[in-house]
Symmetry: C2
Subunit: 198 residues, 2 copies
């Protein structure tokens, strides 16, 4: 199943096709492809080229690693993410490596890397569902995260399902919606839409 | 000038070409194209579909708006960003709109939207340079940001320069570098590279 964004202005097919499903095909993702996804993340830009992003990955063939990672999601996400062939956790180093000062852009830059990974995935026929619903303290303890690293998100990833499981139909078929550009593109001041929108 | 990433594993041309220059051609970006960039950002995913991202934009033709935004960058960035035809500021709403609770993914999700915008820009022959070096309190005061919204980054955007100004040669021609995948892709625990890297 695909669910392209109903964009008001033309955007790249790759960006319109990107969507966060809850159902995936029962098909493994080749390691070579996963390497390309991480390579895409690797070349994201970051404040002072700090690259504050980290990824933990578990594939379903490695049952133990997969179950361990799955158990780090909130139960509502476990319910559907268990069907994905690949799980990832992202994390952010909150302090600069060179001087230990706080990096207020750490989470932002993890977002830049995550989106790069997701775009590369979309180009390869994969879909990714990023999740905020994780058990951060469990991740920290289970994987031994350093004090200055915070868990950020989980990502479920795989090829699209041919058929949607019955209990997911409503959520999977719900229309995609976003705010209007007027609500978040300003020029003169807060709440004043940019003139190019008129 | 272009400066594609020397990727170790194949990635999309669009991601490899993305680069953050400091020199731009003296050529305006059509409003229609800017709309597509914002539309790309609009369709980024976010925690609870909160869409915590905001963009302020100033184009060089609007001298007053441009100078005002330029003055919100740190001096080191002003020095080169003044040559870009388009400037943007990004901001993040730190609390969920529906219940005012903290959104710990706000900056992360602004990163997702920013990367979408930058990818759309790259597809259209544009280059974007994202900056952490901004005067956050000046932005807050100048544009009247609400208390629960924090400035995140600035973005300078435009077509690539034909020739690099002499005082920028060193920085613009410096090789691009990143950590190795082994440094940030783990499976068993922190610092233990994922087996797919072996």
């Amino acid at each position: 199943m695909e669910k392209p964004a109903p964009a008001d202005h033309p955007i790249q097919d790759l960006l319109a096709r990107r969507w966060s499903p809850r159902s995936f095909a029962d098909e493994a993702v080749p390691g070579k492809i996963l390497l390309s996804l991480f390579e895409a993340a690797r070349w994201a830009p970051s404040s002072f080229n700090e690259q504050p992003w980290f990824f933990l990955i578990a594939v379903k063939e490695d049952r133990e690693a997969f179950e361990r990672m799955l158990s780090c999601l909130v139960p509502g996400n476990q319910a559907w993410a268990k069907g994905a062939p690949v799980l990832m956790l992202t994390a952010a180093r909150l302090a600069f490596e060179r001087d230990a000062k706080p990096n207020r852009h750490a989470f932002h830059d993890v977002g830049l890397a995550a989106m790069s990974l997701v775009i590369e995935a979309t180009a390869r026929g994969l879909f990714a569902h990023q999740m905020a619903g994780i058990e951060a303290e469990k991740i920290r303890a289970s994987y031994g995260l350093p004090d200055d690293v915070d868990p950020a998100t989980a990502i479920a990833l795989g090829y699209p399902a041919d058929a949607i499981p019955e209990d997911m139909t409503e959520r999977e078929l719900a229309p995609r919606s976003r705010k209007a550009l007027e609500d978040f593109i300003f020029t003169e001041g807060w709440g004043k839409p940019a003139s190019l929108l008129r």
